[in-house]
């Protein structure tokens, strides 16, 4: 609103919470590179500043077999994820790259089933957590 009243720090924080770290349709469309979520096998979402959001459903609804039924390789290098609660069941996923994120815990008591749906994984990259992801 252009009422001349400057926004305060709380409003800035709120706006940041709402708008940053999300996987927007624009980003997804660009990274799908002509494929659809149903057909894509190799998805590179590296360097998108994606993060674990207060409402975990944001990513639970995406990283699963109903949304990406054919995904074999998922590259999330250089994002800001703090845990692995973001994955649902992805039976075909073979390679998961989570390097250069902010992952501190693989297990939190609030969600005991993380990674459980990723039974086909052959490669996991969890290197360089935090150090390069400022």
């Amino acid at each position: 609103m252009l009422d001349g009243i400057s926004i305060d720090i709380n409003e800035q924080i709120m706006a940041k919470d709402i708008f940053t770290g999300r996987l927007t349709e624009e980003i997804l469309l660009q990274r799908l590179d002509g494929f659809t979520p149903q057909t894509v096998q190799d998805l590179d979402l590296s360097g998108c500043s994606l993060r674990s959001l207060p409402n975990p459903r944001d990513f639970d609804d995406i990283f699963n077999d109903s949304y990406f039924p054919n995904l074999r390789q998922l590259n999330l290098n250089k994002n800001m994820f703090q845990n692995v609660k973001i994955f649902g069941e992805m039976k075909k996923l073979e390679t998961l790259i989570l390097s250069q994120n902010k992952i501190e815990l693989l297990y939190t008591t609030s969600n005991a089933d993380q990674l459980l749906g990723l039974n086909g994984l052959q490669v996991i990259n969890l290197s360089r957590t935090s150090k390069y992801s400022t």
């Binding site: 996991i124 969890l126 290197s127 150090k131």
Partner: protein
């Protein structure tokens, strides 16, 4: 000095990772390696640049 970083592997034992052949964990702050005995097909494990002092038999 990093403030949040992977320090342990607790939780990995709950996942069914029997097909896992490669696990890259380099450049973290792991001080012990636990729960890796379930990874029957693991061929390639990178634990370089961590804080591991000893590996038990």
């Amino acid at each position: 000095m990093s403030f949040n970083c992977l320090k342990d592997l607790n939780g990995i034992q709950y996942a069914n990772l029997s097909r896992l052949t490669m696990l890259k964990l380099n450049n973290n702050e792991l001080s012990k390696i636990e729960f890796l005995d379930n990874l029957k097909n693991l061929k390639d494990l990178d634990l370089s640049c961590n804080k591991i002092r000893q590996i038990d038999q």
